[in-house]
Subunit: 706 residues, 2 copies
């Protein structure tokens, strides 16, 4: 297996170039290598654009990436000082601070920050980011012990190495160090951080390869070692990752106090049929499983991961793409256990799931993985940041009640956390977001996510470049404007999202009558010319979404989605003081045809769309958005004197016609911290019902018991 990643060797700390302040406008990058770069011999269907380039040039995602650079990352840099992450390293070196601060995995917050800086410096120079990276790297070099070991907690507290791996996070921290170093190595670093990481990895190989010890309670070392193998070409890294994957579930890991399922220690991974235990751990492990499977060519191992992904999506995933139904153990729950109010849906789990799906997309080329990535990106992940990029959610529920206590999760977003795993994790994903947009398979350029961007793919026949012009997700229209193309025929494939049954397509103004292929992509093959424009129009009109019968916590409710966006009903937007807790959607009511902001989509309002109206708007605290109004029923408020349990069905379906107002879920909690619901009670079919005018056909409400 060949080493296919090269350290560019051209970057330098503290580049003299002025801070561009915006991604996408910076200097050249070395081959555009992203976080996941399978070797030439890996068993993958798609390949990322190694040697190509993708830039987010604007739009919602480009704006998120810019906000990450300008608002979020500076906050992380400050926190690395104030929360003690850097001081812990200084203490390990023998500095003057007097005690270790924070959880045992404080190093990992720094590593994720460094990884984010790495990807950002690939977008353009920044003296502040580069300066921080240089200082931190110098600290790490000094703290690293002679044999390569590096962990500020163990060193500063003079603890024994590897004695409590179920909870010490030593290899977890090592994994994030490696990932940071790979990012640095693929963008700006002259090799300093990569040298620290490879010394640590070599130490891990020496210590654990061929041994029954070394399983960390929190996976990520697996995927990190595979990527370092991809970067450095050292086969023992892959071998150690493979060993860790194969050893899990065989009684080797001990217990961190939460049971062995928490640590995915309950079953060998190949025998496990469903996601269990701590969601972030389980999901990072799967990323490593896929990485190992494709690099060693183990189809059975890959198939087991795919089976768990299918089960997760069929039984254990929130509408927002979130995972982890339980606060207890931050864990996956039973099948169909998906409470909107107490769903944990940790931000890190969304990121880990996104990373797992990307690896499965590369392995298989199936659009369903990109569908989930999109659902996560715009919803379960997107909501983790405030509109200003300075506050973060750790837990991402789909409901907050009006009397919810603020300091109980779900509370408000916070500026940082004592367990700060999520904020820098958000930053490293946003900083590398463009790498998840496009792939190449043979002579076809695949575009998985619509975003204002420029894409250059190195096809065998030559470079294929295009600009994507779109206001997606606000609008369903996207133009793919070819700026250069190979002389030979090649393909351009665009994912048809699962949420859009119809995607209208035209080429240079002429409608194409083609639909998605078996993998979910619309593929156009031709000899492309500069100036060619492929136009796709997705139906982003608001629509209703119903939960499966087995989701007990969502019975009798309905949600509103629009394009890839899950919507939510936040108290701040409801008219005339109506409580969001006393509104039921009344979707079957006849309503005016929904105007669509996109020129296509001529269909009139129909079941599934009726009673929903959208409009572009800008809201204080939120900014640009598309608001959806829904026909609803306003129910009498619950009386505190009312019976919680009654021999009579609740007469709550009787009420006055009303309009309920929804905004994208990712924009919630940017005003006062009030009630929010994604899933709304489903009012009576046939429109608003009043006590004087009961809907025909429904059983009359009983007025007394027998």
């Amino acid at each position: 297996m060949a080493k296919n990643g090269e350290s560019p060797g051209t970057g330098a700390f503290g580049s003299g170039a002025p801070d561009s302040g915006a991604p996408g406008s910076g200097g050249p990058r070395a081959g555009g290598l992203g976080p996941v770069n399978p070797t030439a011999s890996a068993a993958v269907t798609h390949r990322p654009l190694s040697g190509g380039d993708v830039r987010l040039t604007g739009g919602l995602l480009g704006g998120w990436q810019r906000r990450n650079r300008e608002a979020s990352l500076p906050q992380a840099l400050r926190q690395m000082e104030t929360a003690g992450n850097l001081d812990n390293l200084r203490l390990a070196i023998g500095g003057t601070v007097d005690r270790y601060r924070g959880p045992v995995f404080m190093d990992s917050d720094l590593y994720k920050t460094l990884e984010a800086i790495g990807w950002e410096l690939g977008h353009g120079a920044s003296p502040s980011l580069a300066g921080f990276a240089a200082e931190a790297t110098a600290l790490l070099e000094k703290a690293q012990q002679a044999d390569g070991y590096l962990n500020s907690y163990v060193q500063a507290t003079r603890s024994q190495r590897y004695q409590r791996l179920a909870s010490s996070h030593e290899l977890y921290c090592a994994g994030h160090l490696i990932q940071a170093a790979v990012a640095a190595g693929r963008t700006f670093d002259g090799g300093a951080l990569l040298k620290v990481a490879t010394r640590f990895a070599d130490h891990l190989v020496d210590t654990f390869l061929g041994s029954l010890a070394g399983l960390d309670g929190h996976p990520i070392i697996e995927t990190a070692l595979v990527e370092l193998y991809r970067q450095a070409g050292t086969e023992t890294y892959l071998q150690l990752a493979t060993q860790f994957v194969n050893q899990r579930g065989r009684g080797l890991i001990g217990d961190s106090g939460f049971g062995i399922r928490y640590l995915q220690g309950h079953l060998p991974i190949r025998e496990s049929a469903t996601m269990a235990g701590h969601a972030v751990r389980a999901l990072y492990l799967e990323a490593g499983v896929v990485d190992v499977a494709v690099e060693i060519g183990d189809a059975e191992l890959l198939a087991s991961s795919i089976a768990r992904w299918d089960d997760m999506v069929a039984t254990k995933t929130a509408l927002t793409g979130g995972n982890g139904s339980r606060h207890s153990g931050e864990a996956f729950g039973d099948s169909f256990e998906l409470p909107p109010d107490r769903g944990y849906n940790e931000t890190c789990a969304a990121i880990a799931s996104f990373q797992w799906s990307w690896r499965l997309l590369l392995a298989t080329g199936d659009a369903k993985y990109a569908d989930l990535m999109e659902r996560i990106l715009y919803n379960g992940f997107g909501a983790a940041l405030s509109a200003d990029g300075q506050r973060f959610f750790y837990v991402n529920p789909l409901q907050r009640r009006s009397d919810h206590f603020e300091n109980d999760d779900p509370g408000r977003r916070r500026g940082w956390f004592s367990c700060a795993c999520c904020p820098p994790n958000i930053m490293r994903l946003l900083a590398s977001l463009e790498h998840y947009i496009a792939t190449v398979a043979g002579d076809v350029l695949y575009l998985h996510h619509l975003a204002e961007s420029s894409v250059t793919a190195p096809l065998a026949a030559g470079r294929f470049s295009l600009d994507v012009v779109t206001r997606f997700p606000w609008d369903g229209l996207a133009e793919f404007r070819v700026s250069s193309a190979p002389a030979a025929e090649c393909g351009l494939a665009v994912r048809v999202p699962a949420w859009s049954r119809d995607m209208a397509v035209s080429l240079n103004g002429e409608r194409l009558e083609s639909g998605p292929d078996d993998h979910g992509y619309l593929l156009v093959r031709r000899r492309w010319q500069p100036g060619d424009v492929l136009t796709c129009t997705l139906d982003v009109r608001p629509r209703l979404t119903y939960p499966a019968r087995r989701i007990d916590a969502l019975r009798g409710t309905v949600a509103v989605e629009r394009g890839p966006l899950v919507y939510c009903f936040e108290q701040a937007d409801q008219p005339r003081g109506a409580s969001v807790e006393d509104l039921a959607l009344s979707p079957a009511a006849p309503g005016p045809a929904a105007p669509s902001p996109s020129p296509a989509a001529p269909a009139p309002a129909a079941p599934g769309r009726a009673g929903l109206r959208d409009r572009e708007d800008a809201l204080p605290g939120i900014g640009q958005t598309v608001v959806v109004e829904a026909d609803a029923v306003r129910l009498p408020p619950a009386s505190s004197a009312g019976l919680l349990y009654s021999p009579l069905p609740d007469p709550g379906l009787a009420g006055e016609p009303a309009t309920a107002v929804a905004i994208p879920y990712f924009q919630w909690d940017n005003r006062a911290g009030q009630a929010m619901r994604v899933w709304m009670p489903l009012g009576p079919p046939g429109g608003p019902v009043t006590r004087d005018n009961p809907a025909e056909g429904r059983a009359p409400l009983p007025t007394q018991d027998e």
Copy 2:
């Protein structure tokens, strides 16, 4: 305020009387004092039968009490050795064991066991129970320090006293010691344990009365000190309890790591409008609040507790009477946050709520408190024990899914716990159960709970004795056979349960046309004669119960109840292999008139009863029961390939007619650990629907999107 409890001074350890083996058949008891005995000056409406007597002579509750003595308590005695509770005391004394075992509150398990023994020895002699009590009391006497302090953890580990009261449970353990000593003092003890407890209480008074220190993270010391004041007459105990109640919520308690709401430290108790934080702590605190309020005559304090009780019952109580919606923090949740699957409903919370309601019942005389006690007793509490009395639930959910992992709560009942607060708590309540049956108010004997029993009340005009003959709750018929009565007119009052709209009453065979009074009791005043028989017939036919609209987790479901019993649908009882997860009740279907086992209740089947049929049965592993069959729809199983979220409403309401079978919730988990549901999806009105025969009047199921 007068001392009104007297140590009988006649009991002795290791009584020579043979172990009767059954409660109710033992020797005389000293005045029948129970766990709660307000002073003569207390502001209460009802008084327990001080100087009277109640015995459970058979039936379901009498059987529970006998099982407690014969099966559960011997298990506790063994566990006190094997789990280390006694060894911890030996270690504190300077014994040969080498280390403290278990949580810091291990002493409290022993104290609860001793309290249970105390009440049991009031039922009749038992050399084994008395011998254990004598040995444990001798250990406690030796372990108690010169100034009265006693705590095996602090002493054995040489920790500092009172340094971490938010989590050290020192006063919590002291409270349970006091309660055990009060029980012993009111039944069998010559005063040895009471002397230990009063020495500790005197030390607490010396240490904390008038100080700003002393608030324990886990309340119970408040109610314990008041009861010791009632027993011993020492006013400073009441003063210290009052101080602890008034000090809570004023920033004096610190934090145990779970936030101050967890410890009820967020608001002064008089300003708190809703139950919050750790449920057991919050509920024990309320018992102390009521005790203090009635003893110091603080109507405002009592009113605040009543307001929280009303709020709890209106917004935060499971159908089983359970409290605590969250595993995280074992805590109360938001209003209407009542998930059946993840509801925590700790057994200790049920016991604490039962104790709080009893105190409010004494204070006010309102039947609603007895209604909740009954709901708890037969459901949320009753389910905590296996049929054989040897296994215990800590967490009491209302649903377990078929794929639920056994070691996740709700799993199976267990023989003991590393945190074993619940089993001996169950035992002390069951051993004292007869004390919660009856009260006296003026010249009226109140019977709050129907149970096979004999009751003697000391009315001012003379003793009023009767035997209660009933098969309740299996049957709704109860006869009150008067065996002796005062010469003067007096009253007999029987609670009319909230679940029974009609209670037929006859006196010596003649029907009485009277209904419940304003407080919920049927009161018959006359000059009673020996041989008089009052007969009450409650309607225990099975009935449907609907959740309030605001309970999101129960939307679209219905439950079955029968008399005081909540029912559940356990997989083991469903016919022909139908999965309990694919059944929906179809209650509006016309069904045969429900036969009633009681002679009254002539009404034909009607909405709320239709489609439900009951029959007495005996089931393997369970024994005597009444099974309820319900008209249902059997739905197609969920496919793992199905969509979790869909643009179409789930067509799951279409299915085949079926019969769903329910048993009392308290009897669940006595067969294989399979799926269980209390709340069942509510099928379509109008009876079973098949795809070929859709019910009229309902919107047709869409077959495609637009």
